[in-house]
């Protein structure tokens, strides 16, 4: 196996839910994620895989243990710093597409890049079109997001996740709402992104075929990471 750089790492991650009763949802999770890897996380519902994903995403900060992204300690950073890290280094894809319905597809894709302020509006727009082309959606660019079908919306959401060329793309059931054909498209795309572009994908999924197609699968059982 070639040498692998660790892009994301957790040390003894633990988390409790307090409502309705105290319950350990993550228990001593030690996970290393390598650069350019397409990693899937599987497990029964309630096993803690989504909870783990949101801890990794920096949006959930109430956990024990430590989280590192790109050798930088994330645990303990301020919310504004975390927002900047998410903006630059992490892309998100959710089961429900969460586009902003009032905006055009193009604008939905551009917003994270405009927030980043690394490129001019024209450059961002050009980039957004490249991503749309990658997903075969360039003809839908100027339509309002609410006018698209589920599969199309999910592809727009993927384009939005890719716009800032993040190091890591995190997905929560990315194909949960898609038919087989669209699932296949997304899967191919993920492979291309991870293998071709060197971006890391961490996906939570219920779909065994999807998991099988990934580079590596980890399983969560009752808040613990089982042997891969």
């Amino acid at each position: 196996m070639e040498s692998k750089d660790i892009i994301l790492e957790t040390r003894a991650l633990g988390k409790y839910f307090y409502d309705p009763v105290k319950f350990k949802v993550l228990d001593n999770v030690n996970l290393d994620v390598y650069k350019g890897e397409f990693l899937t996380m599987v497990g029964k519902s309630g096993s803690g895989k989504s909870t783990l994903l949101y801890c990794l995403s920096t949006m959930d900060t109430e956990y024990e243990g430590e989280l590192y992204i790109g050798n930088e300690k994330i645990t303990g950073k301020k919310t504004d710093e975390l927002a900047a890290i998410r903006n630059q280094s992490i892309g998100f894809i959710f089961q429900f597409h969460y586009l902003m319905p009032e905006f055009s597809c193009l604008k939905n894709i551009m917003i994270p890049a405009l927030k980043l302020k690394k490129y001019t509006i024209e450059e961002v727009e050009a980039k957004a079109y490249t991503k749309l082309k990658l997903l075969g959606m360039e003809d839908q660019a100027l339509k309002p997001a609410s006018k698209l079908s589920g599969g199309q919306q999910q592809r727009i959401a993927i384009a939005r996740a890719l716009i800032n060329d993040p190091d890591i793309i995190m997905c929560d059931e990315p194909t949960g709402n898609l038919d087989t054909k669209n699932t296949q498209i997304v899967l191919e795309l993920f492979k291309e992104i991870s293998a071709g572009l060197g971006q890391t994908i961490i996906a939570v999924t219920h779909d065994p075929d999807f998991a099988k197609a990934s580079d590596r699968t980890v399983e969560m059982i009752d808040g613990k990471l089982s042997n891969h």
Binding site: M59, F92, E102, I111, L114, K115
Partner: protein, 412 residues
Amino acid sequence: MKIRNLNIDIALTHIITRRRQTLVAALGVTIGIAIFLFMNSLTTGFERFSQKEMFKNSAHIKIYKEDEMSEPLQENSKPDEMHIIVNPKITTGSKTLLDPQGLIHKIKKQKFVTNVIGQVNASLFYNSGKSQLTGTGSGVNIMEADAMFGIKEYMIAGNLEDLQGSLNSIIIGKGIAEKLNLSLGDNINVTSSYGVNKTLKIKGIFSTGSTQTDQSKSYINISTAQQFLKEGPSYITTIYVNTPDPDKAPEYAAKLQSLTVYRVEPWQVTNADFLSSATVRTVMMTAISFSILIVAAFGIYNILNMTVMQKINDIAILKAVGFTGKDVIRIFVTEAIVMGFIGTLMGLMIGAALVTVLKNVYMGPPVGYFPITYELKVFSLSFLLGLIVTICAGYFPARKASKVDPVSIFRK
């Protein structure tokens, strides 16, 4: 595509794509501001009107000689001793101001003085046959007095100019004319409290709207008044001073006081009753109009709160892609400002329309048209308050939006 500020751009998109909701929120402000503007225009209009009514008879500052009490000729030498020579009472000494022309000259030199007149007030009896009325004659230079009190406005017959320089002329109140059955051009017999009797020609009749004044007051030439009082040409009982700003009269009065030993009285002291009722009125109206603003603010608060609840998915996604809590606050406060701005502008327009309607309501003499004014001060205050209120009302929902936990939304 040109985007200056992403937060503002997002806020504007929300507002434009949800026109109806924006309009409803703005309408809440509109009604509040329209009524606030209307009420305040009413107050200031009425304030102006009643102040003007008051300044028909009194100037901003009045200078006169106070009654002096006679002093006992001998002071008590021991505490338990008392020499009573005369009972102390006001001196019969004349009420004249010494060297009034010199004083008037000095006052005129003050920068803040717009108008000065000397006046001789004489108690008069108006006779016609056996009927007799008591009253006061104001001995004035009628054109100067007009400049100060605006007498011309209240003239219902005759001309002010006819009194100028004529020693046998008089201008009387409408009440006197009616009671004694006199009209323009008639002669009137006038006796002073010093027993001087003159027959004067009526050159004008005025109506101030105050029955009390109309039944007692008359204008005569200053020399005529001096003759009634058996006094010489330098005799003057009162000096009236007008200033650019009646509200600052006490300040100016204090400055004038340093020029003279006589009593200098701003109108606020002379008409303390007027002032206190005006203060009560202002406090009342302000309380009412602020309550209306608070009600309007709650409307905006509610609607923005609803917007935040509806936009909770958007907020979650914005936070996920790297917007900070401050960004979210800016987005929603911008929406509040735009709604407030639109609402306030509409409110100003509706308020101005209401004022215009009332302004054209004729109340009949002596009021004339309803005393309500377009006041720049009131308009700008309403505009400012409209914006401030919406920003305050918008801030709390915005802060709530900024505290949305995206994870709890995504996990639903």
